[in-house]
Symmetry: C2
Subunit: 428 residues, 2 copies
């Protein structure tokens, strides 16, 4: 159950009403675009085959290494952080394989992972939607040469997640009969967390992917609703857009939950790549975009809050509040304790955590800094599925508001071309 | 050895020259302020006593848990990430204790740490400059009640780092003879990484703190230089300030080094809290500030670069380039490989990593997006010491440029008061 609290958005009600009239036409446009992120969660067959795969390999691996970058990596990182033990990989009696996502090509990182895995007990999940991402392919060649040298069967140590037909990875899968899953053609990398890209690694480390889908479906119902009251993704987008017009160019996502710290990283890509665009739908240069900033409550009260309260008034802060954070833990004050800390008497970490969020919210509001709160019961599979769909849906609406294509990324092509050119020049 | 490359800052030379004339007077002001961050590195006695302490406890602990938040935590997190193995806590044959920094009060986090530590073999380092930070004190009371229940000697399982005289933590240290170190009065929390706050945990996990200091001293010499050519901290501040006047309100710190990913978090606090201010030195409301954004190369090319290239032109991007990243690792292309990936032939991860940085830089520049590069040989104690002092020094100059107090944080007081009020109301 997700609830919105928008009382501190500092938007005039009339403004919000006047913008609400766009819901129906935007929704029609979105449906016409035939983007798969909201349809893919109906794919029962794939979910079944993921569950079969992870059942089949249960207990066989000590480590899973995901070779992926950007949208192929961030959802998985978020799923692990949100739904597993906060120190999962350091637990002695881990029931599930230890998962690591290698989302960089720094040689220091590649060397480091080799120090902690046992190749014989490691499964590599290679994820690239296009099947051509050079960073991920380079990693694949590297680890494949290692398993080959150790005479390990690639069919048992690799699984690919890539395009159904195109790309080098699909070719290799076909030729060498390496197990593989598909990213549907009409689901972009940054929208792919609820496809095998996120679901396969999640399932392999014991996350209940059916419940993730249940949550996502609940939110999809809201996303497709023509009622402004019900359509939370529309509400979120409408607030972000309206405030952007008033100079709030930065969106801070600040969950009060250690488990959700990586959700903000996932959202950073979604918002930055989808809405940061030079051209509008008519080809006019507009250079729009919202700059995403990740923050964490209460931690970043001691790092970023000074700026949010007193610096330039250019931010919308989105809090995520969880009603239940772990067990109830008392703060055991010593007897005869100092009067300065008397306020901590008879209280709990849970209460302190909650009260600090409220205080932060009140002060921001008093300083005329817009903020909204997304409230969830607790961090679990279902609420995370809801959050994924909430944010993905809001991006679709933001694309409409800004009149841009939210699904491409033309601004990163040139550096890819340059990279190829520079490396090729070295060869010839 | 740190080098600057400012050719892509897109600042006119005349502009930079005209601003250079302020160096001498700003430097005089800074010296008058008597801030300790650049003097504290001469404190040989403290360094010696830290080394003695860690020598004394060598081999005695399996885990070190740092109870701290904000400036008391971020430097330590950065030191560990930058200078230890990237999967240090998952290595089987760890020579040093496993270090964890508990910089949040989420009950889920506090519960989680208990699942991986053995109290009998754990040292708690409690860090609060003021000695009154409620989050850290609450954590201390919690873990202290646990060790008391287990009849463990607090003098052997706790060490405090706090104000020399004031505050509850200092009182407890005096009363119970708990070992303690001092944060000099004139060193603010966010400037304290080169005091016991950062140095003690670093030394306990085997980091050479003398070399950190050596690096910091090298950069201090530049920081105190009256030559604009030599004074890198001044150059950095001058660029940030001049570009801010041209609408670049966001500073992105983007190291191309997995080891430096947490340096950007440390810098986020330093920049946000120091420069995000409502009032200038004359008490006039100015609401200045630079919003820090953390990014990582090449990872965030696949997440943030689209926005940086095509979105609003409101950012300065600071790259950190390291000439040596781990070992040389070849990319072993399969025979007869696809022509699409031919450019990866006869190359290394090191080369690809470097070339992608150059390509990113060139495209940003072509899009008229200012960027500068800080180049270091490799990530080690000395270069990290240099980087800490570079950024701290640049903040001192930014304070002068913006004509604000870079060392206070008045904007977070009210939420602290409100928190106390709300919790006290519950009691009465």
């Amino acid at each position: 159950m997700i609830k919105f609290d928008m009382k501190n958005s500092l938007l005039e009600k009339e403004k919000f009403k006047s913008i609400s009239k766009f819901l129906k036409s935007y929704l029609e446009n979105i449906k016409k675009q035939n983007q798969g992120f909201h349809a893919v969660i109906d794919d029962q067959k794939t979910i079944k085959s993921i569950e079969n795969f992870s059942q089949k390999f249960k207990g066989k691996f000590s480590h899973i290494v995901v070779l992926a970058i950007g949208g192929s990596a961030l959802g998985t990182i978020c799923l692990q952080q949100s739904l597993k033990h906060l120190y999962e990989n350091e637990l002695k009696s881990g029931k599930f394989p230890k998962l690591h996502v290698l989302d960089n090509i720094d040689p220091a990182l590649i060397q480091a992972i080799e120090d902690i895995i046992d190749y014989k007990k490691t499964l590599f999940i290679v994820v690239t939607k296009s099947g051509t991402t050079p960073e991920t392919l380079a990693q694949y060649f590297y680890f494949r040469s290692k398993t080959d040298a150790k005479k390990l069967d690639p069919k048992k140590h690799f699984v690919f997640i890539t395009d159904p037909k195109k790309g080098l990875l699909r070719e290799i899968a076909n030729k060498e009969k390496i197990p593989s899953f598909e990213v549907p053609e009409n689901v972009g990398g940054r929208f792919s967390v609820l496809t095998p890209v996120g679901l396969l690694p999640a399932s392999l480390i014991g996350i209940n992917i059916k419940k993730l889908i249940t949550g996502a479906k609940k939110m999809r119902q809201k996303f497709l609703s023509k009622s402004t009251e019900e359509n939370l993704p529309f509400q979120l987008a409408a607030i972000q857009y309206s405030l952007n017009k008033k100079g709030k160019t930065i969106t801070v996502l600040m969950p009060y939950s250690q488990k959700l710290i990586r959700l903000a990283d996932w959202y950073r890509q979604l918002l930055a790549e989808s809405i940061g665009k030079k051209l509008d739908n008519q080809g006019k240069a507009v250079n729009v975009g919202l700059t995403p900033v990740n923050a964490l409550g209460v931690t970043d009260q001691h790092s970023q809050l000074q700026l949010y309260n007193e610096g330039p008034n250019d931010k919308l802060i989105i809090f995520i509040e969880t009603l239940k954070n772990g067990p109830t833990l008392k703060i055991p004050l010593p007897k005869n304790s100092d009067s300065d800390i008397n306020f901590l008497k008879n209280t709990t970490f849970n209460k302190l955590f909650q009260v600090e969020k409220i205080a932060t919210e009140q002060v921001l509001t008093a300083n005329n800094r817009p903020n909204i709160t997304i409230q969830i019961d607790q961090v679990n599979e279902e609420s995370l599925g809801e959050l994924f769909m909430l944010f993905e849906g809001s991006i679709a609406f933001l694309g409409e508001f800004f009149n841009i294509n939210a699904y491409d990324q033309p601004g990163v092509e040139l550096s890819k071309v340059l990279t190829k050119k520079m490396l090729s020049a070295k060869i010839n």
